[in-house]
């Protein structure tokens, strides 16, 4: 009977220690998430870019976060298409119409070595023909992305960036992204462009006016 008591006592002691340890560690981690305080780049928020999505000091109270890529850092290498756990990739090109020049000679739509400017397949940069070109009025053409076709290879974004306004930007699409614990694309991004952003401001698009963000499709 004495031995049983001793073992039980030791067990209880261990249990108490572990519970205390867990409580302490959890407390530290919770406190760190709650202690907004001041904003210093790179300390309170992972890869904070002050992209307009920060409301510190009340900001990070256990905000749910999702993955997003920063078009300012993106070098359009094309790895987004290969590395996502989903196929096709959850990263697709997004067209910011507000920035688009509506050019006839579109750097994102046409191949650099095109002989004619038309919608012929041999002239298109996009390997899956996901960009649709439509005449609006002279000399402007509208380019829209057919998202189910887009594989996220960034060829159009690269062309638009090099010869255009940069209105075609790569972004993680949240109707497709499964929000992995560690983003497989983030692991392979050479520009370290991926980071976690608050879920209520899940896009890092350049050129979108703040009021436009209210037009969100659930």
């Amino acid at each position: 009977m004495a031995k049983q008591n001793r073992r039980e006592f030791l067990n209880t002691l261990c249990r108490g220690t572990i519970l205390t340890g867990l409580a302490a560690a959890s407390g530290v981690l919770v406190f760190r998430s709650m202690a907004g305080g001041h904003c210093e780049i790179g300390t309170s928020c992972n890869s904070c870019k002050k992209s307009g999505s920060c409301d510190l000091p009340e900001a990070m109270l256990f905000r749910q976060t999702v993955w997003q890529l920063d078009p300012a850092k993106c070098i359009h290498c094309g790895r987004c298409a290969e590395n996502c756990v989903m196929s096709p990739s959850a990263v697709k090109v997004v067209h910011v119409y507000a920035m688009c020049g509506y050019c006839d000679l579109c750097g994102g739509y046409l191949k650099p070595d095109t002989q004619t400017i038309s919608t012929a397949a041999e002239n298109q940069l996009c390997p899956t023909s996901a960009i649709k070109r439509k005449f609006v009025e002279d000399p402007f053409y509208e380019y829209t992305i057919d998202e189910p076709l887009c594989i996220g290879c960034a060829k159009c974004a690269k062309g638009c960036d090099a010869f255009g306004n940069g209105s075609l930007q790569m972004q993680v699409r949240h109707d497709r992204c499964v929000n992995c614990n560690e983003c497989a694309i983030a692991r392979h991004c050479p520009a370290d462009a991926f980071s976690r952003v608050p879920a209520d401001k899940p896009y890092l698009l350049q050129g979108i006016e703040p009021k436009d963000e209210s037009k969100q499709k659930s």
Binding site: N11, P112, F140, D200
Partner: protein, 431 residues
């Protein structure tokens, strides 16, 4: 005219190729006269934030219900149906992410990297099963973990696999835990997520390697019950420790063991400890000698393990992105004249200083050096305790589940013929 235009386009594109001047409005915003309305850029929302709290609520509810089913109700059927529910909710609906096994990495990273803020789901998924296990045993494994449920579905013909194989394979979870914590804490990689076999099934989307791994586990799972749980799961190591000191634990008999041996072959996981009679009780001198040997052996093994691992800290660190970048800067992968790797391109266009890259890599290497010592020490400690266990023997009269290895699945309960005693003053039946 069109030809010269195209040629001009080509020349401009070439010259602007490597200038990452994004977002510059080269062409002015058009003014439309025909009444064309510019469409809005569609930005679909992610999963609603409040649903994360639903996940937590379901987790706590499931843990409570399964613990009650195992300890109080002693119902195998109930545990089975709960595990199916867990497979449906945490597996197919939530697609297995975020999970308790992976949460080890989130917690490791959060403890060592102040800029990483852990989500509340990850924290609760780590802490809650541990707390419940400290009080009720591994009820999480029984009816809440979707991995366990997945493997339980295919274990039609579980075979006994022998002590030696069981022991050798039982080392792997400790190695996996050590490496996973090391790589997560240094911010290198989330190994557990990368080598998760079942998430590909739940997402209906997997690479070939992951698919093969899942198939191997499921097919071998027909004959070896719960292969991932017993021989791979790193979280299982923590639950094993917690369950050994749990306050209450599932017991085969509701009252007393009558050594009828009916439950001897009832456990598919060989987790039942058989009665052991001590042939010759050892004298105090032998026991004292053993104690001294162990007291010397364990620190020695810890030191040797840590030192050995620290020798390979640099190769271990070379998968880290910052270390790889620094190595590429020093030693470019592609010879002169050929196009550079994307990492070098991105590094140059970001305008970072080389010295900064080297400093970051050096910090990572230092973290890995310390981490390798700890990892090696942990493995050494494991071997020391393993030897100590072999040296000691425990006297046992009853058939009891091994508190560390038992998943509390309650299969053995149906084999025991002992009935619950009539309710008298003593209502509690404790293992």
């Amino acid at each position: 005219m069109k030809k010269t235009l195209a040629l001009l386009f080509l020349v401009i594109l070439f010259t602007l190729q490597y200038m990452n001047a994004s977002g510059i409005q080269r062409f002015p915003k058009p003014e439309f006269e025909s009444g064309y309305v510019q469409p809005d850029t569609l930005i679909p929302n992610p999963r609603a934030e409040v649903l994360a709290y639903l996940d937590i609520a379901v987790l706590l509810m499931a843990l409570s219900v399964v613990s009650w089913l195992v300890i109080k109700k002693r119902s195998r059927k109930g545990v089975f149906w709960m595990s199916l529910f867990a497979l449906a909710y945490f597996g197919f609906y939530r697609e297995g992410c975020v999970c308790s096994i992976g949460s080890i990495q989130n917690v490791s990273l959060a403890l060592f990297d102040k800029t990483y803020l852990i989500s509340i789901s990850a924290l609760v998924f780590f802490v809650a099963p541990l707390v419940y296990t400290l009080f009720f045993g591994r009820t999480f494994c029984a009816g809440v973990c979707p991995f366990g449920a997945m493997q339980d579905l295919v274990s039609f013909s579980p075979q006994k696999i022998g002590l030696r194989l069981n022991t050798v394979l039982g080392i792997i979870p400790y190695l996996y835990l050590g490496f996973a914590v090391l790589y997560a804490a240094t911010g290198t990689d989330f190994m557990i997520c990368r080598y998760d076999p079942f998430v590909g099934i739940w997402r209906m989307n997997a690479s070939f390697g992951m698919f093969v791994f899942a198939a191997v586990l499921l097919i071998s799972g027909i004959f070896i019950a719960r292969p991932y749980c017993r021989f791979l799961c790193p979280y299982g190591v923590l639950l094993n420790w917690a369950s050994r000191i749990s306050r209450r634990h599932m017991s085969i008999t509701p009252a007393e063991c009558i050594q009828c041996r009916l439950c001897e072959n009832s456990c598919p996981y060989d987790a039942i400890d058989m009665p052991v009679t001590l042939r010759n009780p050892e004298d105090k001198r032998t026991m004292a000698r053993k104690l001294i040997l162990i007291t010397l052996l364990i620190p020695l093994l810890v030191f040797v393990g840590g030192w050995t691992a620290s020798l390979v800290s640099e190769p271990l660190a070379s998968v880290n992105a910052k270390v790889r970048l620094a190595k590429q800067i020093i030693n470019p992968l592609t010879p002169e004249g050929k196009p550079e790797t994307f990492e070098i391109q991105a590094f140059k266009s970001a305008g970072k200083q080389q010295s900064q890259a080297f400093t970051e890599a050096a910090e990572v290497l230092h973290d890995f050096y310390i981490g390798s010592w700890i990892l090696g020490g942990f493995i050494g400690l494991f071997f020391g305790v393993f030897v100590a266990k072999r040296m000691t023997s425990r006297h046992r009269t009853d058939y009891t589940p091994n508190k560390g290895n038992c998943f509390s699945c309650a299969r053995c309960i149906d084999f025991c013929p002992v009935k619950m005693p009539e309710l008298t003053e003593n209502k509690e039946v404790v293992a």
